[in-house]
């Protein structure tokens, strides 16, 4: 039997502007509907779950400030991923660079903290974290630029090494990073001068604004500067870059180092913020991996990462609180995040193709006779 109609995909020559906004919005709603079906199937109240999630994530004063606080690190790892992705460099090891950024930030904090004032210490710790994040990606960057080795594999593998490093520094007795004379292995707290205090009664730190400004600055850099111009040329056509005397190798290394530095900075914001010490718990949180999703949602646009980062943070923090406020398992939040990503990426098809419904008429079998 034939269906009475079928769907035909027509490639668009141009994507209408409004779809750029419409597709992500519709995707989020579609994901919420999919999530609702899941909630119904598992016997939870859709209304309660969603209203709790939304108010805990966005629409209450503690909810939104918690979200913005959490978004700080997520925007960092988001721009880290987006910055590399836009040149088709798939740094998926932001997670590892974040760990090393934390290690570095902690070291700078512990080493200089006692002697220097806070207004010097905070920049030092943040830059130290960024520097270490960049160092962690230096080898993948170099082999990619020189030998063309896939950065996907190298950056991912180094994430596991970084995780072991974190554990090593905490669990090895006598470690510089380990708090002395405690029963349980625990990180040593950085001195006060290397810590920021939260804004008012919230979980937001001033680093949030630093990260927002940084995203906007990078957005501007990509669009307006010679460096951004080179990135655009190389990502679109490496052969045109060669023709114009633009060195793809050098730019590859530079872009990857910046990407690693941004992820490392994300780790450092945790140290000067809520963590205050190297904490092995970080390896279960997946902030670095979340950056990949956030970048994909923002289609690698640095400014849009701010929005997708906050959205993601809200879902996450709202989802995490579900367990406390209702009996809904925490996995609902995780599932919703996955659904949103799936729908958002699936929505790409609508941006690139026009979908037409074609009626299939009864087919005449005889041809010409």
């Amino acid at each position: 039997m034939r269906a009475p109609f079928r769907l035909q995909f027509e490639q668009r020559t141009e994507t209408p502007k409004r779809l750029g906004i419409l597709v992500p919005v519709v995707s989020v709603f579609a994901a919420l509907i999919a999530g609702a079906l899941f909630l119904l199937a598992t016997g939870h109240s859709v209304g309660d779950t969603y209203s709790n999630m939304l108010s805990d994530g966005f629409f209450s004063s503690t909810g939104i400030t918690d979200t913005l606080g959490l978004s700080t690190v997520l925007i960092c790892t988001g721009i880290a991923a987006a910055f590399a992705f836009q040149m088709n460099l798939y740094n998926i090891g932001g997670e590892g660079q974040l760990y090393v950024g934390m290690i570095g930030a902690t070291w700078f904090g512990l080493y200089f903290g006692e002697n220097l004032p806070s207004f010097l210490m905070i920049p030092i710790v943040l830059l130290g974290g960024a520097l270490c994040g960049a160092a962690w990606i230096a080898i993948p960057a170099w082999v990619r630029a020189r030998l063309g080795t896939s950065e996907i594999v190298t950056t991912l593998l180094l994430t596991y090494v970084a995780a072991s490093l974190v554990n090593h520094f905490i669990y090895r007795s006598g470690s510089y990073f380990r708090a002395p004379n405690t029963m349980f292995p625990q990180g040593r707290q950085v001195p006060d001068s290397a810590m920021l205090s939260p804004i008012g009664d919230t979980k937001m730190y001033p680093t949030f604004f630093v990260v927002i400004l940084l995203s906007l600055a990078l957005h501007w850099m990509v669009r307006r500067t010679e460096f951004g111009y080179r990135i655009q040329v190389i990502s679109d056509s490496p052969r045109a870059a060669r023709y114009a005397g633009i060195s793809a190798r050098r730019t590859t290394v530079q872009v990857m180092l910046i990407s690693g530095a941004l992820a490392g900075l994300g780790g450092a914001t945790l140290i000067v913020g809520s963590f205050q010490r190297l904490d092995p718990g970080i390896v279960t949180l997946g902030y670095g991996y979340a950056g990949i999703v956030i970048a994909a949602l923002a289609r690698n646009n640095m400014a849009a990462v701010i929005v997708s980062g906050i959205l993601f943070a809200g879902l996450r923090s709202g989802g995490d609180k579900l367990q406390i406020s209702t009996d809904t398992p925490i996995h609902i939040g995780v599932m919703l995040q996955g659904a949103i990503l799936l729908f958002a990426l699936g929505g790409e098809a609508f941006r690139r193709y026009k979908i037409r419904v074609v009626r299939t008429p009864a087919v005449r079998v005889e041809v010409t006779a």
């Binding site: 035909q8 020559t13 141009e14 307006r224 500067t225 010679e226 460096f227 951004g228 111009y229 655009q232 040329v233 679109d236 056509s237 052969r239 045109a240 060669r242 023709y243 114009a244 005397g245 074609v358 009626r359 299939t360 008429p361 087919v363 005449r364 079998v365 041809v367 010409t368 006779a369």
Partner: protein, 519 residues
């Protein structure tokens, strides 16, 4: 397979005596956002004829053919098959009416064999393929029309010409009576074109009809029984029968004005040496790509390098442009050594380079015209687009580039306009005034109107005193523009002659590597 036996020609405007009309389109209209691609087009195909659709790029040829095969739906108009109105909601429906199209961009699966590609999409395949039978069936169809293909070959390994043959075999295997060939010669080398024309004849001999789409006048005049000319979506003329097609008349119908492609030579005496190449050798991966190349190009002179593709032309251009370093030998531009100093140094000495590939090498497809103008220029740390804007607007105007302004994306330009952007950038100088222009295949794939413009631009640059190195496979072009013709064969210059008195036979023989015998 009985269509030819049936009388279907009931159209009132078809005189008696002609073969029956196999397919007729009446009053076809097709609109795309912002363009009227087909405006009230009438077109018909008789059984056993070659009917050509001629028109410049963007005239609406592919659109019309796509509607005739069921890929697009017309907004208005009717299609008759043997006089009977039909609906073509999909290419599959087209096939059921015996209509198939070979698209400009092939639709083959690289990893499948020829036979697998040919039967792909056939509904009546049994679940388990019997390869032997399949291969034999495909080979049988291919042999009938003298189309040599190996059914067991993997499509990914085939040349473009061979892939096209697979597409044609596929159409025939699926029972096509009417074949729509969309610019089939665009991707072929001359020998392959001859072969294709033989195949087309073999097909029309057995009562198949062929719609041949092209914008190349010479071949159209040769192969067509009838020609319909399209311009801006409208039919501008029909030229009746074989032999009558006059290239000049066709060109006028196609472009809408008279076209002049007469020979042009340097009108001023030539000046100082600008490009000096001495004993250049290039070895890549152990292969000698260039051997002992030495020649000069002077101010106001155009030197043409003729040769069959793949004889080292591309590398020669890259060596001059500083993109490749020669293994030995020297290059100087304007008296200064440029060997081994890279592309930017070469440009600072006055080099401009129009590479063979426009989009992807010469131009960045996703960037605007404005940004593409900046590609070979000096850019500040903060790219100052505002200050280049007036110049971009001026160049678009001066070079008659059809675009919505400097922000128009390069990818959306037609081939001719992309080439004009490239020439505009390279001729207008960037880091310094252009002294030496290296151009590769500047008119390949362009339609006559654009070819005329590009040739005029090159001639103007020569008159303005620039030294030009024209590297092209198009022998006609070299013969009618170059003041001096060099022939490259296997990386060596094997023949040199003044352009004015060059003999087509001698140059052609040199290109084929026959110099020793004829000298």
């Amino acid at each position: 397979m009985t269509s030819s036996a049936h009388e279907g020609a009931q159209g009132p405007h078809h005189a008696s005596g002609a073969a029956p009309v196999a397919l007729e389109a009446i009053g076809i209209v097709k609109r795309f956002p912002g363009v009227l691609a087909n405006d009230d087009v009438n077109f018909d195909i008789q059984t056993g004829e070659v009917h050509t659709l001629l028109g410049e790029n963007g005239a609406g040829k592919s659109t019309l053919a796509s509607m005739l095969c069921g890929l697009y739906q017309p907004d208005a108009g009717r299609i008759l098959r043997n006089g009977v109105p039909i609906e073509l909601p999909s290419p599959r429906a087209g096939l059921q009416h015996g209509i198939a199209m070979v698209h400009q961009h092939f639709r083959l699966v690289d990893r499948f064999t020829v036979a697998e590609n040919v039967v792909l999409g056939s509904r009546d395949l049994s679940f388990k393929l019997n390869r032997r039978e399949l291969n034999d069936a495909v080979a049988a169809v291919a042999d009938t029309y003298g189309l040599p293909v190996d059914p067991t070959a993997t499509v990914g390994d085939l040349s473009v010409g061979q892939r096209q043959r697979v597409e044609i075999v596929k159409a025939l295997y699926q029972g096509a009576e009417i074949l729509l060939l969309d610019e089939p010669t665009a991707v072929l080398v001359p020998a392959e074109v001859e072969k294709l024309f033989e195949n087309v004849h073999a097909m029309t001999q057995t009562g198949k009809s062929v719609v041949f789409i092209s914008h190349k006048l010479g071949e159209v005049a040769r192969i067509s029984d009838r020609v319909t000319v399209l311009r801006n979506g409208c039919v501008t003329g029909h030229v009746a029968s074989k032999g009558q097609a006059d290239a000049k008349e066709l060109a006028r119908l196609m472009v809408g004005r008279d076209i002049d492609l007469a020979a042009q030579r340097a009108s001023h005496p030539i000046g100082h040496e600008v490009l000096q190449i001495r004993d250049v050798n290039l070895t890549m991966n152990g292969v000698n790509v260039l051997s002992n190349i030495s020649f000069n190009v002077h101010e106001g002179e155009m030197v043409g390098i003729a040769g069959v593709a793949g004889n080292g032309q591309r590398e020669l251009a890259d060596v001059i442009a500083g993109l490749l370093s020669p293994t030995s030998g020297t290059i100087s531009i304007g008296g200064a050594m440029s060997t081994d100093r890279g592309p930017i140094a070469a440009r600072e000495l006055g080099l401009a380079y129009v590479p063979e590939d426009r989009l992807g090498v010469g131009l960045v497809p996703s960037m605007s015209i404005l940004d593409n103008l900046l590609l070979t220029r000096d850019r500040n740390i903060v790219v100052d687009r505002a200050s280049v804007m007036p110049e971009a607007t001026r160049l678009i105007d001066e070079f008659e580039i059809k675009a919505n302004g400097p922000e128009h994306m390069a990818r959306k330009l037609s081939g001719g306009n992309a080439q004009k952007v490239l020439l505009a950038r390279e001729l207008s100088g960037g880091r310094t005034a252009t002294k030496l222009l290296v151009v590769c295949s500047p008119t390949r794939g362009l339609d006559v109107g654009a070819i005329e413009t590009v040739r005029r631009l090159l001639d103007d640059a020569r008159s303005a005193g620039q030294a030009i190195l024209l590297i092209s496979e198009d022998l006609d072009e070299i013969m009618s523009l170059a003041d001096r013709v060099l022939v490259i064969y296997r990386g060596a210059i094997v023949h040199e002659t003044p352009g004015e008195t060059a003999s087509l036979e001698k140059v052609g023989a040199a290109m084929a590597g026959l110099t020793q015998g004829s000298a």
